[in-house]
Structure formats: C-alpha cells, structure tokens
C-alpha cells in the first residue's frame, strides 16, 4: 500500500512539473516559428538533452537492453555508433549546415527543408506523406512500451494506460509546442542520465567491480543455450559468429540500421534548426556525447550483466528466469519479506532442454527479453532504485513520444495540408495534425501484436534512411543534386525498403504474410544470409546510386536558387 502511495506521489510530482514546464513553453510560443523550431534560440544544453532524450526511448533501454541480455555485449558497437555518427558527425557535419540552410530558406520542418532546398512543394508533400504514414507506427511502439510499464507500475488496465499516457503527452505537445517539448525533455534527460548512471554503478557494485563483473560474464560462456549457440552466440562478451543469423541481426539491423539511420530521422534533424549559431551545436556535442554513452551504454551493459546476477542467485540465465512466472512471483515475494533467494534457487531448478530448435521455437522456449531489465531492477537493486528507474523509463517514453507526435503533427498539418491549402502560417493545422497523429497512434497501440517494439523501431529507422538520407546529404553538400534525382532517390529508396520488408527480410515478411500468400513461403530467397540482411543495407545504396546517377543526367537547379540556399556557406562545385 505504501508502495502504491509513493509511486502515485512520484507520478503526481511528475505531472505537476511537466505541466509547469509546458505552460512556460506556451507562454513563450507566439508564432509558427516558435511552435515548430522553438524560435531558433534554444540553449545548447536544452537542445542536446532534447535530442538525446528524443533518441533514447523505452525501446533502447528495455527493448535493446533485453536484447543485450540475450545476445551479449557485441551490442556495445551501437552506442559507439550513436555517439560517433548520431552526435559528433550529426551535429558537426549535418547540424551546422542544416541550421544555416534552414535559416536561409526559412524552413521550419524537415519536409519543408527538403522541399525548399530542391524548390519543389510536391517533394515537401511526398516527404511529409512518408513521415505521416510511418511515424505513427514508431509512435505506437513507444506508446506500447510506456503503457505496458504503467500497466505494471500502477496496476491499471492496458487500454487505460495507452489512452491516458497518450492524452497526457498529446496535451503538453499541443499546449507547449516545440519549446514546451524541449523544456520537458531537458528535465527528463537529467532524470534519465542520473537514473541510468545509478543503475550501472549499482550493478557493478553488486557484481564485484568493473573488470571482475565482465570476467564473470565471460566465464559463463558454457551456459549459453544450445539454440542461441546454433544461431551464432559465442558467449555474452564476444561478438556472434561471423555470418551467423545473430551476426547479421546485430550488425545489419541494429548497429548499421539504427546507428546510421539516426542521421535521417526527421524529429531529430529539426532540432538542429532550433539553435542560434554553430557555437551552440559545438557545446551540444559535449553534452550529447555524455548523455548517449551513459544512457544507452548503461542499459546494454546491465542487460548483459544481469545474466551473472541471475545465474548466481537462481542458477539460470536472464532470459530463462523471466520465462518462469512462478519463480518471478516467488522472488518478488522473497525480496519483499527480506528473505534470501537461496530457497528459491533450490525450488526452481532449471529445466535445460538441449534439443536444437528453430528461431521461432526458441522464442517459445525462452522468456520475453523485454522483461529482463525490469526484472533485474526489481530483484537485484534497492527499492529506491526501482522508483528512480520508474521515473527514468517514463521520461524515456515521454520524451521520444512527444518528439514523434510533434513531428507527425507538423508533417500532416503544416507540411501536407498547409502546403495544399496555402496556409503554412497557421499553428491550427499543425495542432490538428498532432491530434490526428495521436488518434492513429493510439489505435495502432491497441491493434499491434506483442514483441513489436524493437522491430517497429528498426523498420522506421530503415525507411527514413533509405528514402531520405542520400537526398539530405545531397541537400547539405552537393550543389549538383537535381530535383529529378531526389524524386528518384526518395521513391526508389522507399519502394526498395518496402519490397525488402514484404518479400526478403524474414523478420517482417513472415509477419506481413503477403509473400506467403503469393508464393507459399515466408521470403523469396531463403538461402543464408538473405533472410537476415536488413532492408536498409540493400535500399540505401540503391537510393544513393539513383541520386548520383540521375543528378549527373539531369539539369541542375538555377544558380540563383543554389546561391540563396548556400548563402554564407563554403561550397565546392562538382
């Protein structure tokens, strides 16, 4: 009972603080410029924290943290990419030019940036359409993550959790615009850093120190399940076997897909246009680097290291502990009563079945990886850490969801309808877009199946990368890029992504079912490694090839227009 009061109290304080910050943002939001790009005067600390918090969601902490618990610390290449590509390269080489060109063209959203750079309102409409059709899927998976967490925390019905969580975030995005969103992000970003740093510190303390903890995990290699080994696992502190299914998942979908795909995320790119000068972006690099390593790095380390703790206490690895609901209930009860876990270890001896199975059968044999991080925190760490982690997860979900809702709303309202009806100065359309985006996301959150979080995230990152990245890079650095080339690249990249998802990449094609219906098989090419290669690995090079080839074959944009785009920017003519 006391627990429930404490949690409700924390939640209440949370809402009051979010409301205050939202109203503060609202009081400073007077124009379309304020609503969409926070007036282009955001403090670098707020910008960096907002970027990082929008990037790192429950998907990263619970979803990918759980994956690290199953597949090991090879996933540490992802936070490395997140910093090198997602912060350093993004801020210095993409952010500065995006800010300047955005200002020269008075662009306030990513579709508007692309549309004005290539002098085509139809391109703006096309880009905003892709964003509006697919971003609600990403919104929905983040909403699912947050709602499932609230469902457990407050013991409420899932549908109530989805609805109320979505409504609260929708309200503060509508009221505060991007200023309100970014103020809230900065506060929640601080909570995320402190919470995840504490989680990592306590985990190392619990396991005997930095190197001893890693060594214990390395020494557990003989405990890796045979079906995981068959799929490529080489132990939790080694990379998966080269060219195995697990290696392709790790390298192509996670490390490359998310690590590179971050550069073309519309809700992140817009944040480059919210600062006053390049100096702010330089400062933001310092803040952003620390944020990403502490948040993402901590989650993945703890996910993998949880195997050591669970093995010591229960004689089982993480993904098997979370399968056994009776064991978990007994363990929670023992923790509540302050009893040792040794009795539970004797009672729930592991049932090890070494028969080789398929990947789908393996999923049934083991537990849901999404439960690893919550179970570890609830059982291994002190009660106050559970409260801090509750706030951390809530923050991660709210910041990402607000960024996505804002981007979805502006894509539909300002970019799509605003362009068609010629009413781009109206915040009403952007707000209407946010409401529609929220409704679609809530409906999807009710309809989507379980276990969709990581897959939905990778899907959206991949589509954006293939459709937008070559055109975005061309917009910043290549004056020779033509409008026709961008059309070919956007349509080609998007179509190729869709084709790969529907017909080639088993993770999506099996679920979508069209390939099965047409050809009687889950994917067109079953020969290894084709079913495991991420669609982005195929679609992005094709999109880039189209951009370069068609640009060289078609007429350039007028010099005067290029001059306007690149005013005060050093360019090399190719």
């Amino acid at each position: 009972m006391t627990d429930k009061f404490i949690i409700l109290g924390i939640f209440g304080c949370y809402l009051i603080t979010v409301t205050w910050l939202t109203l503060r943002g609202r009081s400073k939001t007077h124009t379309q410029e304020d609503f969409l790009v926070a007036g282009r005067k955001t403090h670098p600390f707020i910008m960096a924290m907002s970027y990082g918090a929008a990037f790192i969601s429950t998907s990263a902490i619970v979803g990918f943290g759980g994956m690290s618990g199953c597949f090991g610390l090879g996933l540490l290449w992802l936070p490395f990419m997140n910093v090198m590509v997602g912060i350093i390269i993004a801020f210095i080489y993409f952010g500065k030019r995006t800010r300047k060109i955005g200002k020269n063209l008075e662009a306030r959203t990513f579709p508007e940036f692309i549309g004005r750079r290539y002098d085509s309102k139809w391109l703006k409409i096309a880009v905003s359409s892709i964003i509006f059709f697919f971003m609600p899927l990403y919104c929905a998976v983040v909403l699912i993550g947050g709602a499932r967490f609230l469902e457990q925390l407050l013991m409420i019905n899932y549908h109530t959790a989805v609805f109320s969580f979505g409504i609260v975030i929708g309200i503060y995005v509508l009221l505060g615009g991007l200023k309100g969103v970014m103020y809230v992000d900065a506060l929640m970003g601080i909570i995320m850093i402190l919470g995840l740093a504490a989680l990592l510190g306590l985990t190392y303390w619990e396991l005997g120190g930095f190197i001893p903890a890693h060594q214990k995990l390395t020494d557990m290699v003989h405990l890796a399940p045979t079906d995981f080994v068959a799929r490529g696992l080489n132990g939790w502190t080694s990379m998966p076997r080269f060219n195995s299914e697990m290696w392709w998942l790790l390298v192509s979908s996670l490390i490359l897909g998310v690590g590179i795909g971050v550069l073309a995320q519309p809700q992140l790119a817009v944040r480059f246009m919210t600062v006053k000068s390049g100096k702010e972006l330089n400062r933001a690099v310092l803040v952003g680097s620390i944020f990403i390593i502490i948040t993402a790095g901590s989650a993945y380390m703890c996910g993998a290291l949880s195997n050591v703790w669970f093995q010591e206490k229960f004689g089982m690895i993480s993904v098997d502990v979370v399968k056994d609901q009776k064991l978990l209930s007994a363990a929670y009860q023992a923790k509540k009563e302050g009893r040792d876990f040794s009795e539970i270890k004797k009672e729930f001896a592991p049932d090890i079945d070494a028969t080789p199975v398929t990947a789908d059968e393996a999923k049934l044999r083991h537990g849901n990886p999404d439960l690893i991080i919550p179970a570890f925190i609830n059982l291994a760490l002190p009660r106050w850490m559970v409260y801090i982690f509750a706030m951390t997860l809530l923050s991660a979900a709210m910041t990402t969801l607000s960024a996505l809702l804002h981007a979805t709303g502006s894509a539909l309202g300002h970019d799509f309808f605003g362009t068609i009806f010629g009413k781009q100065e109206s915040t009403f359309l952007s707000k209407a877009g946010i409401v529609i985006g929220l409704i679609v996301s809530i409906v999807l959150a009710f309809a989507l199946p379980a276990g969709i979080i990581a897959r939905g995230t990778a899907l959206f990152f991949g589509i954006c990368a293939a459709a937008f990245m070559p055109s975005y890079i061309g917009a910043l650095y290549w004056t020779r890029t033509t409008r026709a080339a961008v059309w070919c690249s956007v349509i080609g990249g998007f179509a190729c992504s869709m084709f790969c998802m529907v017909f080639l990449h088993r993770a999506e094609s099996a679920g979508i079912g069209i390939c099965q219906w047409l050809f009687g098989r889950t994917e067109l090419i079953s020969t290894h490694p084709w079913p495991f290669i991420d669609p982005m690995v195929i679609a992005l090079p094709i999109s880039a090839f189209l951009l370069i080839t068609v640009s060289l074959l078609t007429s350039k944009l007028p010099r005067r227009h290029i001059g306007k785009c690149f005013k005060d920017i050093k360019v090399r003519e190719f």
């Binding site: 540490l76 290449w77 890693h214």
Partner: protein, 45 residues
Amino acid sequence: MWLKLGMGDWFTALALWGNIIAMLIGIIYGAIHWNRDNDQRNAEK
C-alpha cells in the same frame, strides 16, 4: 590482460574502449570549440 577489460574477445573489448574514447572525443571537441562560431569568423573576415 587488463586492456581486454574482462571481455571474451578483442572486438568486444574494442567496442567498450570505443565507447569511452567516443565520449572523450565529444567532450574534447565540445570543450575546444565551446566559444567558436564559424559564422562569426566569416563575418569578421
């Protein structure tokens, strides 16, 4: 060897070192360029 940080292979150890080094690169870059602004320099030229 302590450089391996208790990891099972060098590639994963390199990932962990890479994280630390990437963070330091970001911190050092941000600190060095804290007050630098190319826009200002170009305007002065």
